[in-house]
Symmetry: C2
Subunit: 340 residues, 2 copies
């Protein structure tokens, strides 16, 4: 547990007004498949100040009752240290953030299956207003509110990881669509040939190419097409038990291996095709790329390829700056701004 103690030498920052004029510290909670992270977000920290304080975490319980108790304990812990105004929760799945209900699949989080009214249940126990948000939305809002896309008029953020997540902020507002199914950018199609099945069951989703899973598939195809000796060399040098993992590809690419470089080049192309489509629909001034694989993106090359696809040439393509904690920050700000 990393804790930033509130002492006289380390006082609470002098909060600038938040967008709504409310400046109180707010708890942000990010519910992941294995771990729950929570911290206190201090609205509009000054440059150089921490975006959040008192980061704590706990393993994600699979039992609903234990899960509820864990959330309550985490909030109570943070309440003891901060004058908390509200709680924002970032979670996977389709979230009706207006009514605070979890609508869609919560994937690998069995505890949530019986907790579609989590907001209500939690509010009754912690006596604070709770705001629920889809994790990709919360991350995008965090990056827009106090990360890489601060000040953007229209922006979207994508996360490149096991899948491809997306969140959209238009004109300072989180865009969620009519039924909270918007910003499923990972599931736009980049081919009509029915060549790759996505984990969602649909054909040729962007995610099936641009994600880590997609990169592995691209690698498998590239190796299949490579000369036997080059393939054998690749498997021997970079793969354990002949498994072509994302990290094997990255290692080969960093080593200037010919096949590794070709795969990473194709991956950039796959990402650029989807980006171009999203730019042509939304005409953003800022695009943020985060997630575990963002560190392997050549932003200059990706922008060059995206420009070949886009009508507008006036956008910034930048790495996320809030890292794994964009969801915490975004959920907290959304909770605070819902109070007004």
């Amino acid at each position: 547990m990393k804790d930033t103690a509130i002492t006289e030498a380390n006082p609470r920052p002098n909060h600038a007004p938040s967008k709504t004029g409310i400046t109180k510290p707010t708890v942000g909670i990010d519910i992941g498949g294995t771990k729950i992270n929570a911290a206190v977000v201090v609205p509009d920290s000054k440059p150089g100040e921490e975006q959040f304080q008192s980061l704590i975490n706990a393993p994600t319980p699979t039992d609903s009752a234990v899960f509820m108790d864990t959330l309550v304990t985490m909030v109570d812990t943070l309440k003891q240290q901060h004058d908390v105004a509200a709680v924002g929760i970032s979670t996977a799945g389709v979230v009706d953030s207006i009514h605070g209900r979890i609508l869609g699949s919560t994937g690998n989080m069995p505890a949530l299956k019986n907790l579609c009214n989590l907001k209500e249940l939690l509010e009754a126990r912690i006596h604070l207003p709770v705001h629920m948000e889809n994790d990709a939305n919360a991350a995008a809002y965090g990056e827009w509110r106090s990360g890489a896309a601060k000040g953007a008029e229209n922006m979207f953020a994508i996360t490149l990881g096991t899948g491809v997540g997306m969140g959209i902020v238009f004109n300072g507002q989180m865009y969620r669509g009519t039924h909270f199914y918007a910003a499923e950018g990972g599931h736009i199609a980049i081919s009509y040939h029915r060549e790759r099945k996505c984990t969602c069951g649909r054909w040729d989703c962007w995610e099936a190419f641009a994600s880590g899973t997609g990169l592995q598939k691209t690698a498998a195809i590239a190796l299949e097409a490579a000369p036997e000796t080059a393939k054998a060399e690749f498997l021997q040098n970079y793969c354990t038990n002949n498994e072509v993992t994302t990290y094997a590809v990255i290692a080969a690419w960093k080593d200037n291996n010919h096949i590794g470089a070709k795969i990473i080049d194709q991956w950039h192309n796959h990402i650029a095709v989807g980006l171009g489509s999203l730019i042509n629909v939304m005409d953003p001034d800022m695009i943020v790329v985060g997630g575990g694989l963002a560190q392997f993106v050549n932003f200059e090359l990706l922008k060059e390829r995206a420009l070949e696809r886009s009508m507008s040439n006036d956008f910034q393509l930048v790495p996320a700056t809030l890292g794994n904690h964009a969801g915490i920050v975004g959920a907290a700000y959304l909770a605070l701004e819902t109070l007004s």
Copy 2:
């Protein structure tokens, strides 16, 4: 010239309040490559009433001075018959509708090349406020304001013609993006294979498959792959001078020709792939399909195919109802609503 005379037997309708409370008749002008159409839109006509009155038209002049004179004459003609509050103009090209400037290519309209400040020039001569809008945006707004998508929360409209146009209305607002380059849905990519060049110069744009031009290309490929006798039969029965036009394909399809049916099936698939992507980004409650080719769309089949691609299954897919005059209606309403 079709003119609905204002007489005692045919009085001006008792206008219901517009969205902004302003109910005055407004001129809508649609500038096309060959023809300028103009009419007076009567805000919030009652069911059964005409959406617009006094439709007039003129050939589109190529000379800028003649073009300006033509617009002024058309507005003057309509002003003599109606108490006009404002003028809305729908035109091809990228339009900065906030400042009323034409930013991008105006394609086949040479007169507009020297008239990027058309709004200013026209206002000085007609002494009425002028609103400028991109034609696909205006058409979408018209369909949302008083056509097929009336009452939708989030909608987009596409037009299937020589190209593929698009306009977006989010939460009752025309969505134009940061630099007026949004809603270029015709230029999202539906393949990453670099298989078809779009007229815009980019690869594999939706338009290169879903438009009339795209349909012809699909037909050419299908015929190339067909057995010689079937191909010869197709060319002989449906094509003049062996030219595979859109109308040849439609004729073959209506005639239950095997190749014609296959091409139209593929065309539906191409449209559905792009629609699915747009749905997954925007989660609309309503999608309107217009343009010259919309009459050949099997809406039931298209929705079925789009559902295979979309995360949300809760949207209506409907034909446009304002036909060629959606731009006039949309531009007029936008002009009126800008007055407030």
